[in-house]
Each structure stands twice: as structure tokens, then as C-alpha cells.
Amino acid sequence: MGKRSVIPFGPQHPVLPEPIHLDLVVEDEKVVEAIPSVGFVHRGLESLVTKKDFNTMAYVAERTCGICSFMHGMGYCECVENMMGVEVPIRAKFLRTIWSEMSRVHSHLLWLGLLADGFGHENLFYQCWRIRERILDMLEMTTGGRCIFSVNQVGGVLKDIPDDMLKSIEEAITDIEAELKVVQKTLLYDYTVKSRLCGVGILTKEQAHDLGTVGPFMRASGIKSDMRLRGYDAYPYLDFEPITSDDCDCYARCDVRTREIFQAIDLIRQAIAKMPSETDLAVQVKDKPSGEYFMRVEQPRGEAVYYTKGNGSMFLDRMRIRTPTFANLPGLCETLKGADLADVGLLVITIDPCVSCTER
């Protein structure tokens, strides 16, 4: 038995764009245990409900995280809408679906780039981010923002996507699909990439379930579950199957997310084709919220749970966001056990950590 020592990992670390700290107990080169400590990005966002009314909170909720900002705003608004019994116009549902799937494309491409950077493939990183700029242009054209969109409100959406913009979105996603197919060849079939990812960081199906993991991390371990099948927004009108893989390793996670980009592109196409002709974008919300509701949406990183509780005034009693990374951290600690020290950075990246979400 080798000598045990503790190595601190983070908060400032070259592979991490965000601060997270892990205490790694290592024996020679093998990690025996990993203890996460969070709090570097903790702001106390949930406490703002007592200072901002429930309409304004939509913008605060959006700023939980800059990558899945749209989905956070949407999840919060849908939670409040459900709590108040507001039915959103059908066009707003389709628009939300389109923006959600565009966010998914942008988030997954961002992640693929970071992964490539994590295992030292600088060129691939640049390629992924170059492709991603195209979808950001589309988001900017339709919403006016690149990261924070502010198009959600309680009761619907604030902006419409006119037909000519829908057309250019279709053109853009066709281009992205073609370019991604080229990058995919390297990302999934290149010898160097495979030798770095295959068989690393195994999380079995049983472990994935027992540790409560969510999203692509869970689906890469062979559990077929996707919150979009719950049928919120326009998803009941669209045709899709959750993407899974049975390999349970880093390669599987990369594979699942790459295929999810193609799936998201397909979903955008379907949504554009089935776009209803009604022009209503939002309903007026005059009541003050009371009651409570749990809402779940599928974010790029997995299932997010929103909980709101009203008390009949303009200010909510409580808003709670359980973000996907929060649920995936126990799974990460499990995969780190027995990993080589050199793989730690890579493993942290494969769960697609969003620390800013996690700590709020």
C-alpha cells in the first residue's frame, strides 16, 4: 500500500473555467476519495425573492447561469404559471421549445470544446467554438442577447420569431449539421481521442441510479429517461427518443452529447415545421401568486427542479432551484474513486459541471 496524501484541486485550475474545489485523497497516483467543497460562487440568489416581485424574479432566475440561462428563466416562469393555473398560448410554447433546443445546441458545443481542451486537443476546441458562434448569431438575431436573453415572462414570451427569421434559423442549423459531421469524425472516431476516453471513469447503470444522477451523465450509463418526455411545452407535438449509451465511460458521455446535438437540430426543424399560425405570445397575468408547485425541465445538463411557493402577495415565499450539476456531484465523486490523478480534470469536465448553477 502506498502512502496516502491529500491534494487540493482548484478552485483556480487550467481545465476549469469555473471555480470548484475538490480535496483528493490519493494513494500514489490513484485517487481513493474525493470530497467536493463548493461555495466560491455562492451568491444567495434564492433569497432575492423577498426583494424582487415575482415578475422581476424571471430575470434573476435567468441569471442563475449564463449557459442555460434561457432554460432557467423558462423553468421558473412555467413553475409560476402552473402554480397560478395560467395556460400559455400555443405559439409561446413552440417558441420556448425552439429557444430551448437552440440553447442545448450551444451548450453541448461549448462542452465538446471544453472537453477537447481538457484532453489537449486545442484545434478541436476552436472548431467547436467556431461552429457554436453560428447558433449564437441566431439567438442574438431572435432575442437580442448572446448569453442572457430575457425573453421569458410569466404568462408567455416577450418576442416573436417572424417567418423570415425561422427560415434563416433553418439554414443555420443545416450548416451546423454539415460542419458538425466533419468535426464528429475526429471527436468520435479518432484514435487519440478514443484512447483517452474509452474505459475511463466508469459509472455503472446501478450506480447512476443509486446516486441520483441526471441528464446526459445518466443516459450515458444506459438509463433511458428524459424530462422532455414529460410533455411540457411543445414536446408532446414533437417526435423524439431519449439518446442513451451502454458504455458508461467518458467516451459514452461524449457520444451521447454529440448525438443530442443532432437530435436538438432535428427537434428545431420539427418545431419550425409545426409552428402554429396563432399570433398570441402571452396572456395577461393579473392575479397574485399563491399555492406551490414543483416543475421539472430537461436542461442541457439534465433535469432541473424548480419549486415556488406564493403567499398571495407580489413577493414569493420561496423559490428553489435544484440544478442538474447539484444532482451529478455525488456521481462525480464516485467516478473519481480509483481514477488516475491525471484523469481527474477530464472526469470533472465529463459531467459538464456548471458550478454557477450549483451554488446559485
Partner: protein, 124 residues
């Protein structure tokens, strides 16, 4: 559309029943989706939500606490609940006993004690 998921279910239970109920849910193969605390009308309430990944149902167990009541930790049954419980403990001052990985109010390492409790109600 026919693939509508079941509505959310809320079960209000006693603190003493918590562990038994959680065990029941675990045996049904449900996943702990979230756990959180909230303060309403002077009482802290805890919610433990269990998700079914097959029919997408969500069942929430709810306990309402008396002042400074002791709550057993569910980490004995569901080990990964330690994050949620540490959060409740640190932000709401919930008195949770026997968490398997207890950060002792150092999860977020904030300076203010129990920031989510209404002002003037902090325990001495």
C-alpha cells in the same frame, strides 16, 4: 396528447414517519429528485421529492417542523442526500442529526448564519 405525466403528489407526514416513508420510496425504485426547506407562517417545512423515471410522476413528502425540532438524517438510506441536508442545515438552521458527511455549516462557508430565516426569528 396522450403522454401526459401524472400530476405531482404531496404527502404530509409526521417527522417520526420520515425514515419509514423514505425507505418505502427507495424500495419502489424512486430517485430523490430534490429536498428543500421553506419557511411559512413561522414554521419551517421540509420537502423531499421522489421522482419516478418511468411514468415521470413526482411524489413529495412534506414535514412541518416545530421550533428547533430534531430531524433524522435520511443519508443512512439515501447517501447522496447529504448535499441537500447540509444546505438545509446551513441556510435554514434545520436541526438535522447524523448526516453521513456533515460539513458543519461549512458547505457554502457564508458569514451570515441561516440567511433564509426571517429576521428576528433566529435561534439564540
Amino acid at each position: 396528447m396522450d403522454n401526459k405525466c401524472p400530476e405531482n403528489v404531496l404527502e404530509v407526514i409526521q417527522t417520526s414517519e420520515l425514515l419509514v416513508k423514505v425507505m418505502e420510496k427507495k424500495k419502489q425504485g424512486l430517485r430523490l429528485a430534490q429536498a428543500c426547506a421553506a419557511v411559512t407562517e413561522g414554521h419551517t417545512q421540509l420537502s423531499y421529492s421522489f421522482a419516478n423515471d418511468e411514468d415521470f410522476g413526482l411524489t413529495t413528502l412534506r414535514i412541518v417542523l416545530e421550533d428547533n425540532e430534531e430531524v433524522p438524517s435520511i443519508t443512512e438510506i439515501i447517501p447522496y442526500a447529504f448535499f441537500y441536508e447540509n444546505e438545509m442545515k446551513e441556510l435554514f438552521g434545520v436541526n438535522i442529526k447524523m448526516i453521513n458527511l456533515d460539513y458543519n455549516n461549512k458547505l457554502y462557508r457564508i458569514e451570515e448564519d441561516t440567511p433564509f430565516l426571517p429576521k428576528g426569528k433566529e435561534e439564540a
